[in-house]
Symmetry: C2
């Protein structure tokens, strides 16, 4: 029976769900600049500090034991596999496609990153093997290493039974995803049928948030910085021709594409009305538009927290290209038990039900069927 | 007969349409840094250079007469009232609410801006008087001047017969629109029933576009920079409590809110899940959400170039809060006659027809009825 058969029971798949394995947390604990893990007397949990916007809060808390601690509590949700399974059971998630969370291995010395990638990918592979048919994973590439090392890592991932793709940040080799030096990597991923899960980390420069931004917690950098970063990264890829040059490239965009479904029309109009691009003959009749790429090479997760955004995402890419996700272990409930239901999850599940109808064929597809088909999660069932 | 009576013929109102009156162009011609107007041997038209992303192209063209000229041709569309009326007639636009284009008076020395605002606002007022019942305008504030000067300017605008609001950039007094020093200005505008038309100019810092951005013309800064800038500005206003503090404030957001309709769900979730905001008791039950503000204090133009984005905007704010616009004189056709129809206009008109049905009551409202009601364009008819 096909996973997308609408008469079948719904299976829920979470394709946006992270872990920091213990070996990775050790690296973060050894660091003195963000990203890092550090303990403060203000909090029984160690704190995980990821965002560049947190530099000032980190400095304050280091100086003054009465100041608010920076970052977020590093609870068992970040590193414990048992906790991941408990979370899945609590939310009726049948399958999770787990991935290392940001900032992956982007900050490692080139001499370390190849070995660390191998170790992290093996660790994810082992975790999946402990829960066959419930766990798959997106691997991590050692992007600070040499091209040969990155290509070896892709070969390694191709042979790991539960690996279905790689999670990728927007910095690439350091110059963004429109860097032509990434093309052999994109080609190798496409040839290995490894889907890219594009995920933000770097946000926007602090100056855009203004002098009062510390009053707004993490809202600006997480709600706007992350989504805008993803949109910029994909648009740069599109404009540089990556999607034409590597036609078999497949890419899942985090947070329903950041803002791409909403902005695609304006991007297209700006291209058609750009003097330079028209002079250079780049706006010809056979051009594949942003809309074409959204329907042919891009998938979107359904992590957008409202039916209004989700409907735009569905209209842009198609209901057969959206895939449910939770963003666990981020956004835990702050006023209810962390072991119970998470509102950040139910918000996204409710958005699916509202956008396409609770229990509808499209809802089943978005909640799990699409992921099973697209990421071949039935292959060893 | 009410403008929103669906049995009446459709009247088309353009609320997003700019002019640079000759006196303003003189200022731009006298400048040596962006924004500026300058002639190059490469182009018979003077060139209008507005964007910080154009610094390098400007330098190159200044050094090398064979290099591509920076900016865009400053055609008669920018300064000629006759041309504006011709454009309106060509596109069956009954009424235009004209406004000075970016960057307004944001760059003027404080000693000059008060007088320049008065002169520019009088110039717009005179233009409207030459075409009664066809032209209204949004005035311009001298934001680099003293508070008293700004408040005097608001009093002046309140008395100008065809003025219906002010156009405002995102820098405010230099620190963004969440600056508490702006509150008396917002209060004065609300008391005078002058609607703010919030418009981007500053985009995002050049570094986010990466080392290859010059290959992409103006696409990144106009399609993404402008829309993200607006979204950030409004979100900062929301988080600082401006909309609660000045409940009568009314604001039209350019480009259908930038990306706000798509991101409002994520903004709300990030607020609910922010440790700092929850600790500070800022996420209480009676909080007015971003959605509430979108439906109560914000209007959106319909300049989004696709029915997918437009539908999200309508779902977020309501079909009675959307207003058609053209962005004339920007985005002229590049391969057809500038005196004929502009595709940048027809794209947005088609989006309305596709989103709510050609000729429907909602289409009539968005194409003109809403603007007539909201901006009181029938008052002196």
């Amino acid at each position: 029976m096909s996973a997308s058969d609408t008469s079948s029971a719904m299976r829920v798949v979470d394709i946006h769900t992270h872990m920091y394995p213990p070996s990775y947390i050790c690296i973060l604990e050894s660091r003195s600049t963000i990203p890092l893990v550090r303990s403060f007397s203000q909090d029984p949990n160690p704190r995980l500090i990821l965002l560049q916007t947190e530099v000032k809060v980190l400095e304050e808390a280091t100086r003054d034991a009465a100041a608010s601690p920076p970052g977020r509590p590093l609870t068992s949700h970040y590193a414990s596999l048992a906790q991941k399974i408990h979370f899945m059971d609590t939310h009726h998630i049948d399958i999770s496609v787990i991935s290392l969370a940001n900032p992956w291995l982007d900050f490692l010395d080139p001499s370390e990153s190849g070995q660390m990638a191998e170790s992290v990918n093996n660790e994810f592979s082992t975790m999946c093997g402990q829960h066959p048919s419930r766990l798959y994973f997106f691997g991590t590439l050692p992007l600070t290493a040499t091209l040969d090392t990155v290509l070896s890592s892709i070969s390694h991932l191709k042979d790991l039974k539960y690996c279905r793709g790689v999670i990728l940040g927007t910095s690439g080799l350091g110059k963004g995803l429109d860097d032509p030096n990434l093309l052999p990597i994109f080609e190798a991923l496409a040839a290995a049928q490894l889907t890219i899960f594009l995920h933000p980390h770097y946000g926007l420069p602090n100056e855009v948030w203004g002098p009062r931004s510390s009053e707004y917690g993490h809202v600006l950098s997480l709600a706007l910085g992350f989504t805008m970063e993803t949109t910029i990264a994909v648009t740069r890829m599109y404009l540089s021709g990556v999607f034409d040059k590597v036609r078999q490239l497949r890419m899942i965009l985090a947070h329903s594409g950041g803002t791409l479904p909403f902005l695609a029309g304006r991007i297209e109009s700006c291209i058609m009305h750009d003097g330079q691009l028209v002079r250079e003959g780049r706006v010809g009749k056979n051009r594949r538009t942003v809309w074409d790429v959204l329907k042919e090479q891009v998938y979107l997760d359904a992590v957008v927290y409202s039916e209004i955004g989700l409907r735009a995402a569905i209209d842009a890419s198609g209901a057969d290209r959206l895939m449910f996700g939770t963003d666990h272990p981020f956004f835990p409930p702050l006023t209810t038990d962390e072991q119970g239901e998470w509102e950040s999850v139910s918000l996204n599940a409710a958005a699916v039900a509202k956008a396409v109808g609770d229990g509808s064929a499209q809802a089943k597809a978005i909640m799990g069927g699409n992921a099973i088909d697209i990421l071949r999660l039935d292959e060893d069932a």
